[in-house]
Symmetry: C5
Subunit: 320 residues, 5 copies
């Protein structure tokens, strides 16, 4: 699906200019063009390359699915791969949507495979704001990145809070389920960090290109970079919390094991010797004098009770 938006000075925003007719506006520096391609076809790519004069390798990259954000610097335009975190249902893997961006002096092309809510939002906003479009493609880019990064920030914040709560719960009663949740959050956080860290680099590279980004916009892109730094930092803090919680969990498991073993040992140390005694007097030898003593049975019972007390006192003195 192709959506186009062209700002022509004096004429305002033109929506839905046929893809093939875009070319005539490209050479007019005062125009501002946004072409959005969702699930583009091979043909679309060919026309796209033709209109904006894009390098075959850049087109190739736009067709490829990338795991990591990147920026390539071409003559006349920049090619940016950016990822939007889509969140996750519960504790599943973090899903991301990739958008490939071509940023020229007066054009802004977005290529993506799945519907992206944030992108549609900005597109609708631009439609109704000729003033905004007139400021140039870099302001549209900033707006898009800003909205996406803000969404990421909320997501990371939510995960951080849940991890904090989880840590507290593990401090109280560590269960195997808590541990699994920890691992799943960790997996999500790793995904986020892998994307947010290079995104910050991309902003730095962007700011080196005065042709595409006007001076006035610098502080705004810097602001996005700041948000990314805070995201990375929150992720790192959350991972510290997770690894601390895992240490707590593991030390707790071995402690509980210790307790279990102690109980077993106490039970065995008390009852096995007693059973031996009963075994002795359960033997059928004809000549066992004790068996014929009047109080033999009671003496044995007393001996056994004394033994239990003795072992108890022994273990108490050893602070078991």
């Amino acid at each position: 699906m192709i959506k186009t938006l062209v700002y022509v000075p004096g004429e305002g925003i033109k929506e839905g200019v046929p893809f093939g007719n875009i070319k005539e506006f490209v050479d007019k520096d005062s125009c501002s063009i946004w072409v959005d391609l969702e699930e583009p076809t091979e043909d679309n790519f060919k026309i796209l390359a033709d209109i904006f004069n894009l390098h075959p390798l850049a087109i190739e990259d736009a067709k490829t699915k990338f795991n990591l954000p990147k920026i390539d610097e071409h003559v006349g335009y920049l090619f940016i791969v950016w990822h939007d975190l889509l969140g996750s249902s519960g504790l599943d893997k973090m899903e991301t949507a990739e958008v490939d961006i071509f940023l020229g002096k007066n054009f802004f092309v977005t290529v993506h495979d799945r519907k992206m809510k944030n992108l549609d939002l900005i597109f609708d906003h631009c439609k109704q704001a000729p003033d905004f479009m007139s400021r140039g493609a870099e302001w549209v880019l900033h707006h898009l990145l800003d909205v996406m990064v803000d969404g990421d920030f909320l997501l990371v914040d939510r995960i951080s809070n849940e991890v904090d709560e989880l840590e507290d719960r593990i401090f109280e009663v560590p269960t195997q389920e808590n541990l699994k949740e920890l691992f799943l959050y960790k997996r999500q956080l790793i995904t986020i960090r892998k994307i947010a860290a290079p995104q910050r680099e991309i902003i730095s590279v962007l700011l080196r290109h005065e042709t595409f980004i006007e001076r006035h916009a610098y502080i705004y892109f810097q602001d996005v970079a700041d948000h990314l730094i805070r995201i990375v930092d929150s992720v790192d803090t959350a991972r510290d919390v997770i690894s601390g919680a895992m240490d707590i969990y593991l030390s707790n498991v071995s402690n509980r094991m210790n307790e279990v073993m102690k109980k077993l040992t106490i039970v065995a140390t008390i009852f096995i010797p007693l059973t031996l005694i009963t075994g002795i007097y359960g033997m059928n030898f004809k000549n066992m004098p004790e068996l014929y003593w009047t109080y033999g049975y009671f003496i044995v019972l007393i001996v056994m009770v004394s033994f239990v007390f003795g072992v108890f006192i022994y273990f108490k003195s050893k602070r078991w």
Copy 2:
């Protein structure tokens, strides 16, 4: 709540100048202004931006809660996010108070959400010291940072000592409670480190701005940076101690487990075979010659005692 302090050369300190009237002093370079906003309203921010001509993004940052200190360099002023460690009741999470600072050539604005004792202290001091205010906004900033960092230093020192004591205790008798305390201290130390390390960077950035910081004040800011280095170092040392203590704890747990298992094994190895013997002579077969021997019972008893000695000697020789 808004508090203002204006030093006018020749007239001394004016306290409580209405917020709206501050603007007239801003353009006079020889004046020195301190505006302190506690829990500021939206309106306050608007007036603030207007008076000191602050960038919308800086105002936006001043409204936001940050986890980490940072410094932003704007035209005409610096924006600093600083955190004061409030200590913690017992072993809870370390609490921090954030203060956002605008430092201009002749003005000093502090924005914070909760009452800050250290800040009030400096404010009261400035009120009574026109000489001090007359030296410029950077000296007020130094004074504020110095007091806060000194407080942090004492806090870290206290934690370090407690961690050292804890390590000694774990060397003696490692308990699960000691381990929990270690984790809690570690959590506090991580919080401190996260704040102190970037604060040091902030001082370095500050010293690059000759417009705002006069040469003469350099060595004093350097002194604050030195304190921060020592804080970070103390934190690192304490974390080393903690991780050493955790190693001791864990190796101790597995040792004790070993001991417990050995005891259980010794008990089982001694008593289970003996029980078998008594079981054998407890069987009811009609034809069991031993049962009719005169000394059968006593021979069995002797065999059993010999067995116990044998096992004992065996385990001794294996150094159990």
Copy 3:
């Protein structure tokens, strides 16, 4: 085995020029030569050194088997050691094939010990494409590296997917076999990373040599470097997944051990005391009043059942 390919402007591609006759084309800058040596003999090397005027140390290196890729800069040519991942049958060690490359202004020499499918592919392509050969040796090099790196990429992708699946399986039912597979994949990934990371460096070094690589080819080599970065990144992600899966496995093992121990302790705590009771009433003392009670046996049975319930309730209340 020696294969040669010479492009002479105006005459097109000449295949199978005898090794000894190559020398006459070397000095003609407009020619383009590819010499491929498979399992070269000492003699071959001598002739090779003579034809292209190669340094003895470079020849020495071409004879040596290297574990890591490298690039050496000589006067008049570059010497490159490159490795092609051959994949692995199942989970065995990752096999690699080494190809040593001499890249001059107008010649391209490949030396290798085993048959290399990718290399033959490119060789056959060049044979039929005089236009391609005419562009220069660096384009042949790019083509070769591109094909090899693309193959590596598919390989890494396959391993990544298998590791992901393995992780899921370990989350469900961790078995010792899964763990072994993890270790084997890890070994393969380490091999890949050891090769891919320096290969990226080699591309960077290549791009510093304007004599050998024409400006126009830069973006194409950069594209290969991009692929290598993605390979390294995929490997790192897969290793993160593996180490996460190992943590899951290990925590699971200690959990299961805990469960086993608990079961053993419960069994022992319930049955050993009961056995003691039966032992007591199995003793043969003449004077044991309980034995003669009418309901003695039934009382004992009731006591034993009550005990079992008591222990059950106790363990339940402790959430075992």
Copy 4:
């Protein structure tokens, strides 16, 4: 306690010049002054600041106890915090003595809280060597650092050897005591490393100050830095040894646990079933035909012995 030493060209060494009279020599560049303050009073500091024109912050630092060495560059002098390792009685914490040094063009001030043998040694040497004092303050500094670092070196060497021996012992018979010793050595080594690493940096900074250190002395300070590098390296090697020894210990503990468990399991697997058999024939049922067989008892004994052999062979075949 204050000790002074002044070298006046032509007059030689003057010992014990009253503290108040030192000032008259300071301005004479050809003089060479050493003032040593042990446990200085507030008054001493005031006079000191006055005589050598020291900055209040430097004086403040001289009063403070530092954990780490540092160097501050002031106008007219350098301020150095250095630590001498005092060794340790047995395995206690490593003790250090701090000496604060002011190094000017022609003066050398040492401030310390406890008696320092090494310092007294150099002081006594200087007293009797006017030639040495005449070369300048930097040579005195070098001499002092050299002696202290040499002492540290011997200390680290001794610890390294003890750690090596300990490793060998742990390889033979790992005991809990050995592990504790390891931890204690590790603690000492961490302390040493924390001090030696920044001391090396201090020498580097020193060598940047041509005003205070004459060219000719460079190689001598470099020699001290070399010693510090070797100290840091020895510490790192020793820590590697320690962490290796800890791995050995821990793997050994789990191995021994394994052995203990195996023994227990073997004992249980052999004797518990046998006890069951005796239990069966110890039951008092009237109708138990086997009991009346002539060889019933002997058959049971043979069955039991066979069982023992069977289990033995089973465990052997499993290589327990």
Copy 5:
């Protein structure tokens, strides 16, 4: 023991020139001198310092035993500490031989405490090759380093192979002996890495000294550096293999422990309840109706067998 070798242009190699007479050749730039001192005496050092005008600190260093290679740059000569790996008998500590080298424009001095085969080899070679000596001291140095590094390379290769085999064996049957071997190899590898890594640095420093190393020799020294890189890389790979093998071993130990515990638990869960049953019917109560049932005994036997089957099915269903 002192050995000397002097090349005089036109006269060839002179062997055994008395130590005292060396000085006359030093000033002739066209001469080439090699002095080899084995276990030198104090006197030797004094004469050496005198002949080549060596700095006291360099002489001091030549007397000292170093753990790490290093290079010092003096006026007129370089001082190099190099270590030759002597291999190890079996798995003992890796032994190294230290050689201290003074490299001047036309002289080459080697000082060492133990006989060094490699050095004698080169010495003998030089004796018979006046051409070689005539090229200059740096070529002798290169030759010596090359031979020593080649030896190290073979050594590392052998260890790598043994570690690989060990890993395979641990995959099959992990034993405590295998683990010990791993630790011993690791210790050897750490020693090698500690020496090889700084040796590479030394080559880099050497190449910065155009006075001592002629341009033409650069590529040869670079070749030695390449070998050192490959040694370091092989060591790192081997250490990766070792740490992977240790993970395998440890996970295997806990798995086996798990298996042992399961076996014990199964034995206990099956036999202890059965023993209880026999205990019950072994009690001597007069009034126990079951005892008088005709088939009581057989019913109990059937119950017991059913119980065994029940537990079996239970454990099977739990996949034990």
